[in-house]
Amino acid sequence: MSGKEFFITRYQKLGWKYHEVKLKQAIRINHTNVSDKKLIERLKGMGVDVEKIPFLQSGYWVQPSKVSVGATAEYLLGMYSIQEAAAQIPVSLFTNLKGKLVLDASAAPGGKTVQMADTMQNTGAIVALDVDKRRLTALSNHLERCNISNTIVYLLDARQATNLNVKFDRILLDAPCSGNFASDGYWFRNRTLKDIERNSALQKQILAKAVECLSENGELIYSTCSLEPEENELNIDWAVENLQLSIEEINCYGERGLTDVFGRQLDPMVARCKRLWPGATQGFFVCKLKRSNMQ
């Protein structure tokens, strides 16, 4: 069960008509290092125009130009990060990150880690985990470039996060996922339903362990850049039932989560999740979870 037609039919059954998408490059300004005004002026001075992304606080779309925004002095000085628009949403959903103890369960290459550190203005502490050493090197370079000082990085599988013996105020679980066709030109060719089911199982394992590390009134943001309900709504429906979690209302760009997935009825709370079909952004899914006994 694979191939473009197979997946397009699935999307149609979920209520979305497939169309090709050309993503716009996006940046996120690191406010610890520069103000919006100053950076925009400097970029303009070198022929790079940017446009504010209406649903993000620090995000800008980059207008096509001859200058590569990944090779400017301003980029190398950590004034901004190149981060797809939808990927900037999860961190923005946490309440009051400043001074908190935060877990980034699947951190590399570090775009969201740096976004959290910037939001926290280098206060509190972020524990960033990843299983891939090469990706940790990329994460470390990102932290150094952006002058981050509140983060500690471990080479550790997120499923072993409980070994840290720490309870976190905030947890970001940007789960390893199957991705989506908008950000991967070969996606339809390379993915099968089996991959998706395997990822879904892994995500559930990580989510279960992450919840064990969450403090009593902590917040957990779960996100993927997958369009597949097995990695999104179905996982969250499972978490509500099995991990005693509740889903919080969130106010961000996107459509409400699906509660009818191929005829299967999910907990009505799942509608509080946000699903972003590709268009203005890549495909994405995000939700905010809390322990339900705190409601």
Binding site: G70, A73, K133, S140, R145, S149, V153, L155
Partner: protein
């Protein structure tokens, strides 16, 4: 060792940074400045922590750009401010000609290390003074040899 290689490097810029040596952790030759909160978490085998200061390898110390930025904020540190074109060439790994130096702070004599700043006062890296750095009038003579620049972030990714 350990933190001594960090302090030896700092002293080359004729400045003293108020860093508590006990806050510096070494991991496989790499040095990190770790605050009190992170220190509680640093008892495990970490990969990276706090503010990366640099690494010691074969008796040499290679500073991080975080450390260089810290040094550049000190008024007494050795630093040269270069013009826009030279700033970009420096990031691309090139040396600095005397004519492109706009200002000199601290020691400007041959053989010493100096930070290289752009017109906004942002640290782009550091180099060794190999010629006159007195500015504008010096012509095409080489003044600062590039030792390390922020373009390294791109070169590391290759």
């Amino acid at each position: 060792m350990k933190a001594i290689s960090v302090f030896n490097f700092i002293s080359q810029f004729h400045v003293q940074l108020a860093i508590d040596p006990d806050s510096i952790f070494e991991k496989n030759g790499r040095f990190f400045l770790i605050n009190k909160t992170l220190r509680l978490l640093a008892n495990r085998d970490f990969f990276y922590a706090g503010a990366y200061l640099g690494k010691a390898k074969a008796g040499k110390f290679f500073p991080s750009f975080i450390l260089l930025s810290m040094l550049a904020k000190e008024k007494e540190s050795n630093r040269v401010v270069v013009d826009k074109k030279s700033a970009w060439l420096f990031i691309c790994g090139r040396d600095i000609l005397g004519k492109s130096i706009v200002r000199v702070h601290g020691q400007g004599k041959k053989g010493v290390n100096t930070l290289v700043l752009n017109e906004f006062g942002e640290c782009l890296g550091f180099g060794r003074i190999v010629g006159k750095v007195t500015g504008f009038s010096v012509g095409d003579e080489l003044a600062v040899r590039n030792v390390s620049d922020i373009g390294d972030f791109l070169r590391r990714e290759r």
